[in-house]
């Protein structure tokens, strides 16, 4: 990996020299340290980052590349390419080819119609916006009709959600009543044309309303766990459970809008998902979750942004509802979540105080994220924050956020943008 980093540096230097006349180089260097507030004060993260953004534009064509390096103490550096694409501009059409992040929808921090680019959940939902999404190799075409746009996306190869590795504090394996064995042999989707994904979106912007209408056929970014009992000949009692993660195809249609009324921004977003596989209890197998039921579900959100004085606020209500619900399904029929955000700046916008939070209404769990950012100088900022996970001990299920109740942490990020 050290050789890789060296090669990367050489390529960057040569590339920068070759294109120095017209190459636009930006990026940042960041040092990020997090400490768990447990008895041992373990480090949750200790990371140094170099993130480069390279862009060159020539008349009607351009290219963009976003290589990055994550470096951890006593470990080899991790080299990655967040995006690398080319643009071709026509009078009324743009084409973008290559690895790219595609962001849709009007929601903040939620993924309802924003499902074209898969997520990187290696650090749960805590990474910065541009780091939580994975670039996908795709062809994107935008056709413009005044203030309206038709956008079509073809993704040649399926890319799943990146999950934390098993040793990570963010790893989450569902609890089962029997010992489990994981079979990952069916997790891969073969890279062939018939397995490609396609999306289309029609969007518009006007004084009254901004809107998007979209549809897509895709692979479920999150694998469904196929559960089967491990049975020994002559012994009817299962010895354990075999878990086989497998991605299934999904079809969805949805839309979003944003509009201002009386100083309030109102936002909405919703999608109808067809063909989702849900785990269900099997009464013929000791009520173990060995069944799968295919159901449609809707996922939607309503939200508002507003300001009071110099403070800015935002809140959203999100619901996911499984249609034609069966009581044997493990997941609850309705899953309700709220988000809230309060933000205020001081000292000529050099000091920013922010409070962001997710609240799971089903299990009364939450993730609260206060932070304070100070711009020491132009492009140089220090951010101190905390991630506080709350679990309701009386709830049957810990919930998405409550599950990480032991992962409360404080952190510091020092970032220099150039």
């Amino acid at each position: 990996m050290k050789n890789q980093t060296l090669k990367f540096s050489l390529i960057m230097l040569i590339g920068a020299n070759l294109f120095a006349q017209n190459l636009d180089i930006n990026g940042y260097v960041r040092s990020y340290m997090g400490v768990l507030t447990n008895d041992n004060y373990d480090y949750s993260i200790n990371q140094n980052t170099l993130d480069l953004k390279l862009k060159r534009t020539d008349d009607n064509v351009s290219f963009f590349a976003n290589p990055f390096i994550y470096q951890y103490p006593n470990q080899d550096a991790q080299l990655g390419l967040r995006e690398a694409y080319m643009d071709v501009y026509f009078d009324n059409m743009d084409l973008r080819i290559g690895k790219q992040q595609i962001i849709w929808g009007k929601a903040d921090g939620m993924f309802i119609t924003d499902i074209v680019s898969p997520k990187d959940l290696g650090e749960f939902l805590l990474r910065d916006f541009d780091e939580i999404r994975t670039g996908i190799t795709s062809l994107k075409a935008n056709y413009y009709l005044g203030d309206n746009t038709v956008e079509m996306v073809w993704i040649s190869t399926f890319t799943p959600t990146i999950m934390p590795d098993e040793t990570s504090i963010w790893s989450r394996i569902p609890e089962f009543p029997l010992p489990i064995t994981i079979d990952e042999s069916q997790k891969e989707i073969p890279a062939r044309l018939e397995n490609s994904e396609g999306f289309i979106k029609f969007s518009g912007m006007s004084s009254l309303l901004d809107y998007e209408i979209m549809a897509g056929t895709m692979w479920d970014d999150d694998p469904t766990l196929h559960v089967s009992p491990i049975i020994e000949l002559g012994n009817p009692q299962p010895l354990g459970l075999m878990l086989t993660p497998k991605h299934h195809q999904l079809t969805l249609a949805g839309g979003s809008f944003s509009s201002e009324l009386g100083g309030f921004i109102f936002r909405g977003e919703g999608a109808y998902y067809m063909g989702k596989q849900f785990s269900a209890l099997n009464p013929n197998q000791m009520n173990l979750p060995t069944s799968l039921l295919e159901k449609d579900y809707v996922h939607y959100l309503i939200g508002t942004d507003f300001s009071i004085g110099t403070a800015w606020f935002s809140t959203q209500f999100i619901q996911r509802a499984i249609l034609d619900y069966d009581d044997m399904i493990v997941q609850e029929e309705l899953d309700n979540t709220m988000t809230f955000l309060a933000n205020r700046t001081f000292l000529q916008e050099t000091l920013t105080l922010q409070l962001f939070g997710y609240v799971g209404l089903n299990n009364e769990d939450a993730l609260i994220r206060p932070s304070l950012t100070y711009d020491v100088a132009d492009g140089f900022e220090i951010l101190a924050g905390a991630n506080i996970f709350i679990q309701n001990d009386e709830s049957e299920d810990a919930g998405l956020f409550g599950h990480y109740d032991d992962n409360d942490m404080v952190y510091l990020k020092v970032k220099y943008s150039f």
Binding site: Y28, D94, K106, D128, D130, T149, S307
Partner: protein, 256 residues
């Protein structure tokens, strides 16, 4: 000395006679309707200096176009690095009472977000200019009174006091020094809710393009906080025929 006093009196008197032909509202309407061209492109450098003398500099590329029923403006942030490629678009309307539409593109989010134009009292990028200071406040939003006339650097000036009709407005009143005939606002004082002087805006540079005069350098001095912001335009171009599609979501994302 005596001659100077007489001349001053004559000038003031003749100016007063002239001003008596106009109401305060008409003077401000002349300022509001002063020709500014059909479109304008320019680079804006904003220098913000705090009370300790520390400076921060923001660079912006700006396009403005008059369209049927209003104006469209798009700004691309060039520096500092942490806001580079952010863009901000405003559609404003001549129709009285109709709020502006505003959008911001944040490259980290890769998303264009509609934002409320209700926060006109917020300061623009940490400067001493509020969003409202940068916009064209409609003359009918205030009651205007001619206070007096002055001669500054040989120019005849009408001094107008504007009191907002909306009692909740961030300023209790403003006082504007308007150059006669060219209808340029040369200086403006802003008074806070307690009627204490808060800020002084002065025009320090202008450039003529035929009958169009563009203010190229302005200084906003916050006298209460002892800090100031200088806005300076360079490479200004007028009536270059900026296409309508410059003011779209496509261009916000694409950048300059």
């Amino acid at each position: 000395m005596k001659l100077k006093s007489i001349l001053t009196t004559i000038i003031l008197f003749s100016g007063l006679t002239y001003a008596q032909d106009l109401t305060g509202l008409e003077v401000i309407q002349n300022v509001y309707n002063r020709p500014t061209g059909n479109d304008m492109t320019g680079n804006l450098i904003m220098t913000i200096e705090n009370s300790r003398g520390n400076q921060r500099v923001r660079k912006i590329k700006q396009y403005v176009k008059t369209v049927k029923g209003g104006e469209k403006k798009i700004m691309f942030f060039l520096s500092p690095a942490d806001v580079k490629n952010t863009s901000f678009m405003t559609w404003s309307y001549d129709e009285k009472g109709k709020s502006d539409d505003q959008w911001i593109y944040l490259p980290a989010l890769k998303k264009v977000k509609r934002i409320s134009s209700d926060s006109k009292g917020d300061y623009f990028m940490g400067s001493d200019f509020t969003y409202d200071d940068l916009g064209d406040r409609h003359p009918s939003d205030d009651n205007h009174t001619i206070l007096r006339e002055e001669v500054i650097d040989g120019k005849e000036i009408i001094v107008i006091e504007s009191v907002p009709k909306d009692e909740e407005y961030m300023y209790s009143r403003t006082v504007t020094w308007v150059i006669k005939d060219s209808w340029i606002g040369l200086k403006k004082e802003f008074y806070d809710e307690d009627d204490e002087l808060l800020k002084i805006l002065t025009v320090e540079g202008q450039k003529s393009f035929g009958d169009v005069i563009i203010l190229t350098k302005m200084k906003m001095n916050n006298v209460q906080r002892n800090q100031f912001t200088i806005m300076e335009f360079s490479d200004v171009q007028i009536d270059t025929g900026i296409p309508n599609n410059k003011f779209t979501e496509r261009m916000m994302k694409r950048g300059i």
